[in-house]
Protein backbone atom coordinates (compact mmCIF):
# COMPACT_ATOMS: atom_id res chain seq x y z
CA UNK A 1 0.00 0.00 0.00
CA UNK A 2 2.75 2.41 0.96
CA UNK A 3 4.62 1.49 -2.20
CA UNK A 4 1.52 2.07 -4.31
CA UNK A 5 1.16 5.56 -2.84
CA UNK A 6 4.84 6.24 -3.37
CA UNK A 7 4.91 5.18 -7.00
CA UNK A 8 1.65 6.93 -7.86
CA UNK A 9 2.75 10.28 -6.42
CA UNK A 10 6.29 9.89 -7.74
CA UNK A 11 4.80 9.48 -11.22
CA UNK A 12 2.58 12.53 -10.64
CA UNK A 13 5.56 14.62 -9.50
CA UNK A 14 7.76 13.60 -12.43
CA UNK A 15 5.06 13.98 -15.10
CA UNK A 16 3.99 17.42 -13.93
CA UNK A 17 7.62 18.50 -13.60
CA UNK A 18 8.11 17.50 -17.25
CA UNK A 19 5.05 19.53 -18.20
CA UNK A 20 6.68 22.56 -16.52
CA UNK A 21 9.77 22.16 -18.66
CA UNK A 22 8.12 21.20 -21.95
CA UNK A 23 4.94 23.29 -22.13
CA UNK A 24 5.11 26.62 -23.93
CA UNK A 25 2.46 28.39 -21.86
CA UNK A 26 3.84 29.59 -18.51
CA UNK A 27 0.42 29.51 -16.83
CA UNK A 28 0.15 25.79 -17.55
CA UNK A 29 3.70 25.43 -16.29
CA UNK A 30 2.98 27.20 -13.01
CA UNK A 31 -0.17 25.15 -12.34
CA UNK A 32 1.71 21.93 -13.13
CA UNK A 33 4.40 22.97 -10.70
CA UNK A 34 1.73 23.39 -8.01
CA UNK A 35 0.57 19.82 -8.71
CA UNK A 36 4.16 18.60 -8.55
CA UNK A 37 4.68 20.34 -5.20
CA UNK A 38 1.53 18.70 -3.82
CA UNK A 39 2.90 15.30 -4.83
CA UNK A 40 6.16 16.18 -3.09
CA UNK A 41 4.19 17.07 0.05
CA UNK A 42 2.86 13.50 -0.01
CA UNK A 43 6.48 12.33 -0.19
CA UNK A 44 7.27 14.37 2.91
CA UNK A 45 4.42 12.65 4.76
CA UNK A 46 5.83 9.27 3.70
CA UNK A 47 9.18 10.42 5.12
CA UNK A 48 7.63 11.02 8.59
CA UNK A 49 7.81 14.80 8.30
CA UNK A 50 4.18 15.96 8.47
CA UNK A 51 5.08 19.47 9.65
CA UNK A 52 7.25 20.11 6.60
CA UNK A 53 4.56 18.62 4.36
CA UNK A 54 2.15 21.23 5.71
CA UNK A 55 4.77 23.94 5.16
CA UNK A 56 5.33 22.67 1.63
CA UNK A 57 1.64 23.06 0.82
CA UNK A 58 1.26 26.42 2.55
CA UNK A 59 4.52 28.12 1.59
CA UNK A 60 5.38 26.58 -1.78
CA UNK A 61 2.08 25.58 -3.35
CA UNK A 62 0.27 28.41 -1.61
CA UNK A 63 2.44 31.49 -1.38
CA UNK A 64 5.33 31.15 -3.81
CA UNK A 65 3.39 29.67 -6.72
CA UNK A 66 0.61 32.24 -6.31
CA UNK A 67 3.34 34.88 -6.61
CA UNK A 68 4.54 33.24 -9.84
CA UNK A 69 1.01 33.04 -11.29
CA UNK A 70 0.35 36.61 -10.24
CA UNK A 71 3.44 37.88 -12.05
CA UNK A 72 2.71 35.78 -15.16
CA UNK A 73 -0.80 37.17 -15.39
CA UNK A 74 0.28 40.71 -14.47
CA UNK A 75 2.76 40.75 -17.35
CA UNK A 76 0.31 38.98 -19.72
CA UNK A 77 2.89 36.37 -20.54
CA UNK A 78 0.37 33.69 -21.43
CA UNK A 79 -0.22 35.33 -24.80
CA UNK A 80 3.43 35.91 -25.58
CA UNK A 81 4.91 33.30 -27.90
CA UNK A 82 8.24 32.09 -26.65
CA UNK A 83 10.82 31.98 -29.44
CA UNK A 84 12.31 28.57 -30.10
CA UNK A 85 15.70 27.87 -28.63
CA UNK A 86 18.62 27.28 -30.96
CA UNK A 87 18.92 23.59 -31.97
CA UNK A 88 22.47 23.36 -30.64
CA UNK A 89 21.30 24.65 -27.27
CA UNK A 90 18.43 22.16 -27.27
CA UNK A 91 20.77 19.31 -28.15
CA UNK A 92 23.41 20.24 -25.58
CA UNK A 93 20.79 20.88 -22.90
CA UNK A 94 19.05 17.54 -23.33
CA UNK A 95 22.19 15.46 -23.73
CA UNK A 96 24.10 17.03 -20.85
CA UNK A 97 20.97 16.88 -18.68
CA UNK A 98 20.48 13.21 -19.51
CA UNK A 99 24.15 12.48 -18.85
CA UNK A 100 23.93 14.25 -15.49
CA UNK A 101 20.77 12.33 -14.56
CA UNK A 102 22.17 8.95 -15.56
CA UNK A 103 25.38 9.66 -13.70
CA UNK A 104 23.71 10.74 -10.48
CA UNK A 105 21.28 7.78 -10.50
CA UNK A 106 24.21 5.43 -11.13
CA UNK A 107 26.14 6.78 -8.16
CA UNK A 108 23.10 6.69 -5.89
CA UNK A 109 22.58 3.03 -6.76
CA UNK A 110 26.25 2.33 -6.28
CA UNK A 111 27.01 4.13 -3.03
CA UNK A 112 23.78 5.14 -1.34
CA UNK A 113 21.54 2.07 -1.17
CA UNK A 114 20.13 1.69 2.33
CA UNK A 115 18.17 -1.47 2.99
CA UNK A 116 17.24 -0.78 6.62
CA UNK A 117 16.30 2.18 8.72
CA UNK A 118 17.67 2.54 12.27
CA UNK A 119 15.55 1.16 15.06
CA UNK A 120 12.88 3.17 16.79
CA UNK A 121 10.44 5.80 15.61
CA UNK A 122 11.63 9.04 14.06
CA UNK A 123 9.83 11.89 15.79
CA UNK A 124 9.85 14.89 13.47
CA UNK A 125 6.66 16.77 14.30
CA UNK A 126 6.33 20.51 14.87
CA UNK A 127 7.15 20.12 18.57
CA UNK A 128 10.46 18.33 18.01
CA UNK A 129 11.49 20.75 15.25
CA UNK A 130 10.51 23.78 17.34
CA UNK A 131 12.42 22.65 20.40
CA UNK A 132 15.55 21.95 18.39
CA UNK A 133 15.27 25.13 16.38
CA UNK A 134 14.93 27.48 19.33
CA UNK A 135 17.64 25.71 21.27
CA UNK A 136 20.42 25.65 18.71
CA UNK A 137 19.25 27.69 15.73
CA UNK A 138 17.93 30.92 17.22
CA UNK A 139 20.56 33.05 15.52
CA UNK A 140 20.02 31.61 12.00
CA UNK A 141 16.30 31.93 12.57
CA UNK A 142 16.63 35.65 13.28
CA UNK A 143 18.97 36.02 10.31
CA UNK A 144 16.34 34.47 8.06
CA UNK A 145 13.73 36.91 9.32
CA UNK A 146 16.07 39.81 8.55
CA UNK A 147 16.73 38.28 5.12
CA UNK A 148 12.99 38.15 4.45
CA UNK A 149 12.65 41.79 5.49
CA UNK A 150 15.47 42.67 3.11
CA UNK A 151 13.76 40.68 0.35
CA UNK A 152 10.54 42.64 0.86
CA UNK A 153 12.37 45.96 0.63
CA UNK A 154 14.36 44.76 -2.38
CA UNK A 155 11.27 43.52 -4.21
CA UNK A 156 9.48 46.82 -3.65
CA UNK A 157 12.51 48.81 -4.80
CA UNK A 158 13.07 46.71 -7.91
CA UNK A 159 9.51 46.39 -9.14
CA UNK A 160 8.50 50.03 -8.74
CA UNK A 161 9.13 51.69 -12.10
CA UNK A 162 11.51 54.63 -11.94
CA UNK A 163 10.17 57.70 -13.77
CA UNK A 164 11.43 61.26 -14.01
CA UNK A 165 11.00 63.06 -10.72
CA UNK A 166 10.58 60.03 -8.52
CA UNK A 167 8.68 56.76 -8.52
CA UNK A 168 5.53 56.14 -10.45
CA UNK A 169 2.40 56.00 -8.39
CA UNK A 170 0.67 52.65 -8.31
CA UNK A 171 -2.11 53.75 -10.66
CA UNK A 172 0.33 55.00 -13.29
CA UNK A 173 1.96 51.62 -13.75
CA UNK A 174 -0.81 50.44 -16.07
CA UNK A 175 -0.32 52.78 -19.01
CA UNK A 176 3.10 51.81 -20.16
Amino acid sequence: MEFAIFFFFAAVAVIFAMVVVLHRNPVVGALSLVASFFALAVMYVLLDAPFLAALQVIVYAGAIMVLFLFVIMLLNLQHMAEPATRPIQQFLGYTSGAAFGIGIVYFILKYSVFMRLPEGPFIADARAIGIRMFEAYVFPFEMVSILLLGAIVGALTLSGRAVKGGRAAIGEEVGR
Binding site: F3, L55, A124, A155
Partner: protein, 100 residues
Amino acid sequence: MIPTHYFLILSAVLFTIGVVGVLTRKNGITIFMSIELMVNAVNLTFLAYARQFHDIHGLIFVFFIMAIAAAEAAVGLAIFISLFHHRDTIDVDEANLMHW
Protein backbone atom coordinates in the same frame (compact mmCIF):
# COMPACT_ATOMS: atom_id res chain seq x y z
CA MET B 1 8.58 1.32 4.83
CA ILE B 2 10.04 2.63 1.62
CA PRO B 3 13.84 2.44 1.28
CA THR B 4 15.71 5.72 1.30
CA HIS B 5 17.28 5.33 -2.11
CA TYR B 6 13.86 5.35 -3.78
CA PHE B 7 13.45 8.91 -2.56
CA LEU B 8 16.99 9.75 -3.60
CA ILE B 9 16.34 8.53 -7.14
CA LEU B 10 13.07 10.46 -7.35
CA SER B 11 14.94 13.53 -6.16
CA ALA B 12 17.68 12.98 -8.75
CA VAL B 13 15.10 12.66 -11.53
CA LEU B 14 13.34 15.87 -10.47
CA PHE B 15 16.66 17.70 -10.21
CA THR B 16 17.60 16.52 -13.72
CA ILE B 17 14.30 17.76 -15.12
CA GLY B 18 15.02 21.12 -13.50
CA VAL B 19 18.51 21.20 -15.03
CA VAL B 20 17.12 20.47 -18.49
CA GLY B 21 14.54 23.22 -18.01
CA VAL B 22 17.18 25.79 -17.10
CA LEU B 23 19.38 24.77 -20.03
CA THR B 24 16.78 24.58 -22.79
CA ARG B 25 14.19 27.28 -22.08
CA LYS B 26 14.28 30.97 -22.86
CA ASN B 27 11.34 32.24 -20.85
CA GLY B 28 12.78 33.73 -17.67
CA ILE B 29 9.87 32.70 -15.48
CA THR B 30 10.00 29.11 -16.72
CA ILE B 31 13.72 29.04 -15.91
CA PHE B 32 12.88 30.35 -12.47
CA MET B 33 10.26 27.64 -11.97
CA SER B 34 12.85 25.04 -12.97
CA ILE B 35 15.13 26.42 -10.27
CA GLU B 36 12.31 26.05 -7.73
CA LEU B 37 11.93 22.45 -8.89
CA MET B 38 15.61 21.82 -8.22
CA VAL B 39 15.34 23.40 -4.76
CA ASN B 40 12.48 21.04 -3.98
CA ALA B 41 14.44 18.04 -5.19
CA VAL B 42 17.24 18.98 -2.79
CA ASN B 43 14.69 19.35 0.03
CA LEU B 44 13.49 15.83 -0.66
CA THR B 45 17.06 14.56 -0.40
CA PHE B 46 17.52 16.34 2.93
CA LEU B 47 14.36 14.76 4.32
CA ALA B 48 15.28 11.30 3.04
CA TYR B 49 18.69 11.42 4.72
CA ALA B 50 17.19 12.93 7.87
CA ARG B 51 14.95 9.91 8.21
CA GLN B 52 17.74 7.50 7.33
CA PHE B 53 20.06 8.85 10.03
CA HIS B 54 17.36 9.91 12.52
CA ASP B 55 18.77 13.41 12.53
CA ILE B 56 16.34 16.29 12.86
CA HIS B 57 18.87 18.86 11.63
CA GLY B 58 17.96 17.93 8.06
CA LEU B 59 14.40 19.06 8.68
CA ILE B 60 15.56 22.36 10.16
CA PHE B 61 17.71 22.89 7.09
CA VAL B 62 14.66 22.30 4.87
CA PHE B 63 12.77 24.88 6.91
CA PHE B 64 15.47 27.48 6.27
CA ILE B 65 15.66 26.56 2.58
CA MET B 66 11.92 27.18 2.26
CA ALA B 67 12.26 30.63 3.85
CA ILE B 68 15.17 31.50 1.56
CA ALA B 69 13.28 30.21 -1.49
CA ALA B 70 10.43 32.56 -0.60
CA ALA B 71 12.83 35.51 -0.43
CA GLU B 72 14.47 34.43 -3.67
CA ALA B 73 11.12 34.13 -5.46
CA ALA B 74 10.08 37.62 -4.35
CA VAL B 75 13.31 39.29 -5.44
CA GLY B 76 13.63 37.26 -8.64
CA LEU B 77 10.12 38.03 -9.80
CA ALA B 78 10.68 41.71 -8.99
CA ILE B 79 13.76 41.60 -11.22
CA PHE B 80 11.68 40.08 -14.03
CA ILE B 81 9.00 42.76 -13.63
CA SER B 82 11.72 45.40 -13.83
CA LEU B 83 13.23 43.71 -16.89
CA PHE B 84 9.81 43.57 -18.54
CA HIS B 85 9.31 47.29 -17.95
CA HIS B 86 12.62 48.07 -19.60
CA ARG B 87 12.63 45.56 -22.47
CA ASP B 88 8.98 44.47 -22.97
CA THR B 89 10.08 40.85 -22.80
CA ILE B 90 11.34 38.34 -20.27
CA ASP B 91 13.33 36.39 -22.83
CA VAL B 92 16.63 35.86 -21.04
CA ASP B 93 18.57 36.20 -24.28
CA GLU B 94 17.34 39.81 -24.48
CA ALA B 95 18.67 40.54 -21.00
CA ASN B 96 22.10 41.59 -22.24
CA LEU B 97 22.28 44.93 -20.44
CA MET B 98 25.54 44.03 -18.73
CA HIS B 99 27.38 42.31 -21.58
CA TRP B 100 30.49 43.83 -23.06
